[in-house]
């Protein structure tokens, strides 16, 4: 039993060194860009930076100006309307399509391909196509009129009061396929025996959906909700392509406000304040979800 000398724990810094080196890009991204960048923007939102960022603190000035700006108010209203309806319609349409697809139908793959292909397209393409379809001179409105209904009016893109719904139509076209897919995956994840049990018990299909299946799919709904919601806050390209914010400022959204103030109006402080507001909006959505999802169980070993 010779040589039973004790050895001490080697320096922990150099243990597993390759893994640490390989993680440097992730660490830099997480700490410098995501954490650092966010903090930087929040800090500079309290300054009066114009063309260049300057640490000249002016308190809540930028925020007061922001909430006094009609364009920002319109942006927020638009986001609220667009957000509310796109949540409701995405979930309802997505779930209905998924439920229909789940009836052991034929050509399931064909239908899935059709419903989902818009999601492969960019918001720019989506916006431009719908700009064309909704074109009052040549699009849906003129086609219906040429059929004889001459007083038919459907011109959302040039009517300030309803322009946001024109964007909503395009967004739903692009995104509901994804919701359908997530819902379908959720439906497929439900134990076949649940359906058998409810059939044996003689429960009609719609009640099985309402009282058994949908409650069981709660996690899927929540995940989908978070995905849609965080997408809504970011909506930008679609508006740029479809209406450029017009007519006037009728279809402005917060993300566009940020971009325009940062890179065109050369009023960085406003841009930072507006983007901080976006951050807060996302936090309001994400924090309760993250708490529900990860906070409840605490650490599971």
């Amino acid at each position: 039993m010779a040589g039973h000398a004790k050895t001490d724990r080697p320096n922990q810094l150099f243990r597993n060194l390759n893994s640490k080196i390989a993680s440097i890009p992730m660490i830099l991204t997480a700490v410098v860009i995501f954490l650092g960048g966010t903090l930087w923007t929040v800090v500079y939102s309290f300054t009066n930076s114009k063309l260049l960022p300057r640490l000249n603190f002016v308190g809540l000035d930028q925020y007061e100006r922001l909430w006094a700006a009609p364009r920002w108010i319109v942006s927020i209203e638009n986001l609220a309307i667009y957000g509310f309806f796109s949540l409701i319609f995405s979930l309802v349409i997505g779930f209905l399509l998924a439920a229909l697809m789940d009836q052991k139908i034929r050509f399931e793959n064909t239908f899935r391909t059709i419903f989902l292909y818009p999601f492969a397209l960019s918001f720019i393409v989506t916006g431009l196509v719908w700009q064309w379809i909704l074109n009052p001179e040549f699009g849906v409105q003129s086609v219906v009129r040429s059929l004889g209904w001459t007083s038919f009016t459907f011109d959302p893109l040039y009517t300030p009061s309803i322009v946001i719904y024109g964007i909503l139509i395009a967004a739903l076209w692009q995104g509901t396929g994804l919701v359908m897919c997530l819902m379908l995956a959720g439906l497929r994840g439900i134990d076949e025996d649940i359906w058998k049990a409810s059939r044996v018990d003689g429960i009609p299909a719609w009640r099985t959906y309402g009282q058994i299946i949908i409650p069981m799919m709660r996690p899927v709904f929540i995940t989908t909700l978070v995905i849609i919601a965080s997408g809504i806050v970011k909506v930008y390209d679609l508006v740029v392509a479809q209406t450029s914010g017009g007519p006037g400022i009728a279809s402005e959204v917060p993300a566009k406000y940020v971009y325009d103030y940062m890179f065109q109006a050369q009023n960085l402080g406003q841009g930072f304040a507006a983007s901080t507001m976006m951050l807060i909006t996302v936090a309001i959505i994400i924090v309760p979800w993250a708490y529900l999802e990860f906070g409840g169980g605490r650490k599971r070993v």
Binding site: M26, A30, F34, T113, I114, S122, V125, V240, A241, T276
Partner: protein, 305 residues
């Protein structure tokens, strides 16, 4: 008593088959297929409109309606969209944007996947103190609106001297692709049996040997999923292209928007639609070719929003 219970289902099965052969045109089926066909028509309509518009001449567009098929098919709008359409002073069509997008997409996809797969592997198999914390920050960061982070990135890139260049944009795509890709790879590697990793360590393989010789050969599907995700995502990007590149490097989406929404000149809707199809073609081809893998990719990548 027990005999009867056993016999019952047998009787039912050998007897006249109750409602088993469902008629194809039952009210239920009509409702299901009816709804699905109407929905399918709604989803297909814009694609159809794009194609027919792009094949018509301008006079025909002014006279007819957007849904009618072209009377006289012309490919001129396509040629014009590709080669001579104007953005500002440049009149060399979308081709420039196309090649820019190719030059952006290919390296971005390779770099982002290379970084994220190694990251995911380190997180799944070689955890160290703090690795989970950094990963959590990364995932939470995926939900932060890009608008919050773009200006600091502009400054960082400017300091590095690569603001406005393709290199800068490639870096930006790699950064913003990282959360979702790392998550994707981490979960995939974590789902591989841990004992395989242990066996390789007993066999004396280190960090890189295990990655290249054990993990990589087992993970081709997830790499394909990641590629699909990144190719479509980066090709479709607009915001980063606008913010981080100079006009001569604008990707296809930005150029398309500039062509279609330019205020000068007469609107040529057929050229616009041809340009739109051309821009959407790459992700559409990826979508139609990859099929189910695309669905897997977006289900994983949906977090990107």
């Amino acid at each position: 008593m027990s005999d009867i219970a056993i016999n019952k289902p047998v009787v039912a099965m050998s007897g006249p088959k109750g409602r088993k052969p469902k008629p194809l045109l039952s009210p239920r089926n009509i409702m299901i297929y009816g709804t699905l066909f109407v929905a399918a028509a709604y989803y297909l309509l814009p694609l159809y409109v794009m194609v027919v518009t792009s094949l018509k001449g301008m006079p025909e567009i002014r006279l007819g309606n957007i849904f009618s098929p072209p009377v006289e098919i012309t490919f001129e709008p396509w040629v014009k969209a590709w080669a001579t359409a104007c953005t500002g002073l440049n009149c060399d069509g979308l081709s420039r944007g196309f090649w820019n997008s190719v030059r952006i997409t290919i390296p971005s996809v390779i770099v982002s996947i290379a970084i994220a797969s190694v990251n995911g592997y380190a997180l799944a198999n070689w955890r160290f103190k703090g690795s989970e914390l950094f990963f959590s920050i990364l995932v939470v960061g995926a939900f932060i609106p890009y608008q919050v982070m773009i200006y600091p990135i502009v400054i960082v890139l400017r300091e590095m001297g690569i603001y406005g260049t393709l290199t800068g944009l490639i870096l930006v795509h790699s950064i913003f692709g990282m959360p979702i890709l790392t998550l994707l790879f981490r979960n995939y590697f974590a789902s591989l049996p841990e004992e395989l990793f242990k066996a390789a360590r007993i066999d004396g393989a280190g960090f890189w040997a295990i990655y290249f010789r054990i993990m990589l050969p087992m993970s081709l599907p997830i790499f394909v999923v990641a590629m699909i995700l990144q190719v479509t995502g980066i090709w479709n990007d607009f915001l980063f292209g606008v913010v981080f590149t100079r006009p001569e490097y604008y990707p296809m989406t930005v150029q398309l928007n500039n062509i279609v929404n330019s205020v000068q000149g007469v609107k040529e809707y057929n050229v616009n639609m041809a340009a739109t199809i051309l821009t959407g073609a790459v992700p559409l081809i990826v979508y139609f070719v990859s099929g189910r893998l695309f669905v897997r990719g977006i289900a994983a990548g949906a977090v990107k929003g």
